[in-house]
Amino acid sequence: METKKTVLAVAAAGTVAGVAGLVLLASPAGAGEAPPALPEIGPEALVESVLSTTELPALSGAVSLENNLGLPVPGLSEMGQDGAVRVFTDGNGKHRLQLPSDGGETTVIDDGKTVWVWDSVDRTVQKTAHGAEGKGKAETPLESRFADPATAARELVDTMRADSTVAVDGTARVAGRPVYQLVLAPQPDERTLLREIRVSVDSETRVPLQIEVLANGQADPAVKVGFTEFTAGPQDASLFQFTPPAGAEVTEQTPDKEFRGESAEDLFAGLDIEPYGEGWDTVLTGTVPADLLTSQLPTGPRGEAGPGGNPLDLLGTIGKEVSGDFGTGYVIKAKVGTALITEDGKVALGFVPEEVVTEAVNQMK
């Protein structure tokens, strides 16, 4: 027989347990956990081991992006809101990516011969024979042209050391896995807004699991891309096969065309990009055709009110008008970098403060 006191005690314990459970659910996984103990490793050896992983091992995981730039990045911010990108690879060049979009999903399957892109909102399938679109973009492995990873790593680290301090800063956990943290920080004389770039390398597979970009004076990373789930191991072969579902509209793409974003490609080709400076304060400079800046902007894809006017007007709303030797232009500042666009189409951007981009524009012809 239960007395009132026992019942009340049980009820109180239950309430506390429930609230504790909620708080536990709300707190990030692994918070407060001691960093895992891993054998010591030098930066060269760590980089070497990363480079020798020319192809991703078989894995499944989820990648998400945290954007704290202080600037909306079209496309990227949407990806962060809708949820993580799910990634599958079989370790032999077959990939599957599932990107959330508009409540539906865009699934990209590379079965080794053909790349299929399924869009659930339109219920369309794009089929591209292999050639143009090879690898998943979220985890493109480092280039395999380093025939000798040991040498390459040494050279790479040496190059980086010219303007950076490279160190292994202890261990941590990413997606529940123990990682080494490779930290690249600019030398004190570098004129950059960045404080450091932190790469978390899986201690077992040596896959970089997470990249964080930290700006000066910011506690939280300005950009954080990484796995939130990561499971290494053989994947079910059926994941990398695709049969267009009944009722889907299938279009075939020719291999030499990008499966999407060709206009962006053209744009960048016309920009005539040149670097200015070196190391952390490298500024990319280029020229935008002046007519592009004054052309009329299209309205938004879903019919939402477009900013209206031409790109220069838009720049006027998000940037700050400045003038100098280069004439008149607009400066757009984010936490990690600065961009300057002049009215005559000169563009400079980098992870640097305003005076460096101004300097870069001034030296342009």
Partner: protein
Amino acid sequence: MTTAPVRAPLPRLLRSELRFMLRRPRTLIALLALAIMPVIAGVSIAIAADSMGGGRNAAIEGIASMVEGNGMMLPVLVLLLAVTMLLPLIGSMWAADAIAGEAATGGLRNLLLAPVSRVRLLAVKAFGVATLSLLAVVVMAVVSVLAGVVFLGGAEMVTVSGTTLPFTEALGRVALLVVAVTVQVWAVAAVALAISTCTDHPLVVLAAATGGIIIFTVLGEIPSLDWLHPLLLTESWEAVADVARDPLPMNGLTEGFLRAACYLVIGYSLALARIVTRDG
């Protein structure tokens, strides 16, 4: 005569409670309404493909775009629509009737006088509410499957990820969906039951549940409160649509399940504390 405590057999109490709830006209009306909803949805989609759009919620839109000609997706759409308001309210209605409603008619006194301990009384009531909530979700799911196959066709499920699941596997996904939705409804009903033990007015319970769901939904849409979002029960509700993705992502479903379990424990604990202290 001995006075050793004797208890009425629990199965008998549970049976009696269920029979009672199923005889209630409002229970039958609610179940009928829930059964009609998928039929209306199925017919209207079959007639006008875009009728379920409207763009109020990305997750709903994402599923809605998949329903046409894909009947096994109808239960996902219907339950996704219903889990955001209709089903929690119906669960709350039963929770409201269970204690507050009985108190309003004086029936609670009868039950307290019949020497059913208050803890057992709450257990019986919670069982009744939970069983009917499950029944409500099952009714919706079964009618949706039938309406989907009949009006929209396609015994296979084309998932949001573009894969095609055979009928049996699709049924398995619907079963998982039923479990996921039911647990969320249970969580709301448990909290509603706690409120129900504090008042004699069933409408207060319904108003509190409706208000709570609306407030939680609004809070969930304020980005600057993102630290609060993992605490909100409503945050798990869209994840039930994950059953329509392939391979099945379990993260959102598991998290939703755990969150609902926390609310369930809190709700029943508070209800327990209140029922043993309340005056009949």
